[in-house]
Symmetry: C2
Subunit: 471 residues, 2 copies
């Protein structure tokens, strides 16, 4: 180990902060992903407040509060990890108790995951939810409906440590007072949920719904997320919060969100690890409805508003989740892998996921090495796919330059055609791999289904960050 | 990327050679794993010869030849990767054609995997096998039996490049002339199969069989293997060659080897990648039999000789495969994970494997961080286990000091007891993690089955080695 010290101490200078990034610390190449303005949904107010969950954090916001002025439909997708953190269990119970209706807020802390904290941890999560709920009861807002908490709760950070719960509970009234609806409030809130993220992840967009009742009404969708390690489907230490002022029925909110997450947050990988805390939630308050009579989007995939909403939400969730990959711990590359002509979507996604998780593929990309053998290898050991999905003699692998690539005009670079290696122009490959963005296309030639997946490389900095996380 | 250059160039000084290690290059802490003497099985002669598969290799042995003076039973376990390298396909055909009987040799090159090389690659692999076979036909050895090749073939190295086949075919007669049966010959042969290995992996042992016909006869088992990346069950760029002078029937050789490999070479992980070339083969020539009439070990698990042979072979294969983990690319830790009180062996092995593959667990171990939350997390997201295998309130996780640990007298360090975190003595944890060797015990409390698994950590050096491999 001693012999590693010089290298490690050099790498250490690249270590991130483990709380909200300040503007001056955002890497120059990431600044373009931080919006300087936005259009935010009506009837939502948000805040990011410093409470000092980690004693070492003396100034940065670490308590986020996302609220709706009126009761909102709510839905969430939770981690599938068997060890579900206390906030996950509490949020599930709150959603279930309310049938996804009449939620008011989401209270989130960074710095401590409140996971594997036993009975005490459950009490802490419930106290966060109850204290957030109480803010609305003490105000002039609509009365409590006796269904208990109206607030979901999320936590992210180190596992196995108890929350400094007094600090958090004392901070919630301050967080309530800090609520606002301008760009600065949304950006500060997005910062407050960060852990090892190097930049806050915030997006907003406007859209319309096609049915007569909604035609001509502009709706807004805003969302924030955080990474940046332990990211893999189903899911990771990943939080996502989506808010819209469109009216959506509770059932539709859940099915729309589940589908969007499967094609976005569950189609990205940083390191293949899946955490105890992951939650993506959607609040829809209908505050931009043209009239109180305008019908909420129904839970019916054949409905035209449902279909439009599904398209908007999926595309938005994809853009949001891609920001997590952009900020993957230690990442220097952003890679889209497309697996096409597979017998089923499940086969295509399994193969894409296996490529995205392969440490050998990821280190080759970091080393800017067009080592397609490792990609092929990963295709070949994908577990659980149908027997006829991969036929060596039908397999094609190509690199496609990104839209932003300097070598875009040179077009697609075929590496393997029908199972036979091409004589690869290594100079061209090297130029392609100089780009931050790259697309890998795998054409299986055994069906007509496709899946996309987004991932990053494995670098020295990933090892440094994750070898040092707790210290 | 520019900002990484200083760190990378420092780390670069730790890069390995990509061909056989010379004695002077073996790291001091690995020298203890290289035997200085051995007892080798009767009737086997081996050699390691330089042919220069890689043009940059001007002197180190890269062609290994393992031969039996008389026809031997043979068995092999091959990679499950869909893209099976040419030598894997040829070896399978040779074994099948002969029904596992009357094999004479294994010819192995390092430096090029002859994988994904199309029809030409198949011809090259067949030519290697045929040329090896021809050596015996040209000598005074027993005549050809008209069943075709008597030689298995293995290759390891970069994927997708053709072999310099003329160099190899020209080198095989030299390799035949170099055959010998002393320790130096075995060690040189073990070196010739290495790629990124920092030390040759060679073991030998003696044993007896309990039945009357064999009692009092000393048999010998010798084996060599190579790693060191792309190691994960079913399997990896991993070659293993086992030779014994005990008589074993072809059927018994295959079932004994399959079982031993499942508990050894298929229970280790370096990085979770599974290669196109992996092969572990066993040759048994019966040369130490007390008489030509002594019965071969039969393919019958209830037979006492079979049971004794199974125990010897499994334990030997475990020791041999552990050497691969000791030499995991960039590894600084050797970790045994034991998952016990599981509902089934499959559940226990799946959980152990998931822990062994988690980049977050592996980087925490590199950072000497007792971050049991990441272990728990990996337990919790293990795919495909029975629904009742993991019950958070019954889960226990401990660190156990290795036999060689300075803190061995301090005993077991409990991290999680029945799902509740212990107040961990971080100083004790730090002392435990100073050791190269560590055991992690996961007690699920949901059954009575157990599995063991061996793995290493993820270090900066792993990234360096694999980011630079081809260049």
């Amino acid at each position: 180990m001693a012999s590693h010290s010089p290298a490690r101490s050099m790498v250490r200078t690249f270590i991130r902060n483990y709380s909200a990034p300040v503007d001056s610390s955002i890497p120059a190449n990431k600044l373009k992903y931080v919006p300087t303005s936005g259009t935010y949904p009506k009837g939502f107010r948000v805040s990011g407040t410093h409470v000092g969950v980690k004693a070492s954090n003396t100034s940065k916001p670490d308590l986020a509060f996302v609220t709706s002025d009126t009761p909102a439909s709510a839905a969430a997708v939770f981690t599938t990890n068997k060890f579900q953190a206390a906030p996950v269990q509490v949020s599930k119970a709150v959603l279930q108790s309310r049938g996804g209706a009449n939620l008011r807020s989401i209270i989130i802390n960074s710095g401590c995951a409140n996971a594997v904290t036993g009975k005490g941890g459950m009490e802490d999560a419930q106290a966060m939810s109850d204290t957030a709920t109480a803010q609305f009861q003490q105000s002039s807002q609509p009365e409590d409906d006796n269904l208990g908490s109206t607030s979901l709760v999320m936590s992210t950070g180190v596992i196995g440590q108890r929350l400094p719960i007094k600090k958090i509970l004392t901070g919630i009234p301050t967080a309530y007072q800090n609520l606002d609806n301008d760009h600065n409030a949304w950006l500060t809130t997005a910062k407050a949920i960060c852990t090892t993220d190097t930049f806050p992840k915030l997006l907003s967009t406007t859209f319309t719904l096609p049915s007569t009742s909604h035609r001509g009404t502009q709706y807004t969708l805003a969302g924030m997320t955080k990474g940046a390690g332990m990211i893999h489907p189903n899911m990771a230490t990943l939080l996502g919060i989506l808010c819209t002022d469109a009216p959506i029925s509770p059932g539709a909110a859940q099915s729309l969100l589940t589908d969007a997450v499967n094609k976005s947050f569950n189609s990205i990988s940083i390191d293949g690890d899946t955490s105890t805390n992951d939650t993506v939630a959607l609040l829809a308050n209908g505050a931009a409805s043209p009239s109180p009579d305008a019908p909420a989007v129904p839970d019916d995939p054949s409905d035209q508003d449902y279909a439009a909403m599904a398209s908007v939400l999926t595309s938005f969730a994809q853009r949001l989740s891609q920001l997590v990959v952009r900020d993957g711990e230690g990442a220097t590359k952003f890679v889209q892998v497309t697996v096409r002509r597979a017998p089923s979507h499940a086969d295509a996604k399994a193969i894409a996921s296996t490529i995205a998780r392969s440490p050998l593929v990821k280190t080759a990309l970091y080393g800017k090495d067009a080592n397609w053998g490792r990609i092929l290898c990963a295709i070949g050991y994908t577990p659980g796919i149908s027997p006829d999905a991969v036929v060596p003699g039908k397999t094609n692998v190509s690199f496609v330059p990104a839209e932003t690539s300097k070598s875009k005009d040179e077009g697609v670079l075929d590496l393997l055609v029908n199972g036979e290696p091409e004589a690869v122009d290594e100079d061209r490959a090297a130029r392609l791999l100089e780009d931050e963005d790259l697309e890998i296309v795998v054409d299986l030639g055994t069906g007509d289904q496709e899946a996309k997946y987004w991932f990053c490389d494995f670098s020295h900095e990933y090892v440094t960050i994750n070898g040092d996380y707790r210290t």
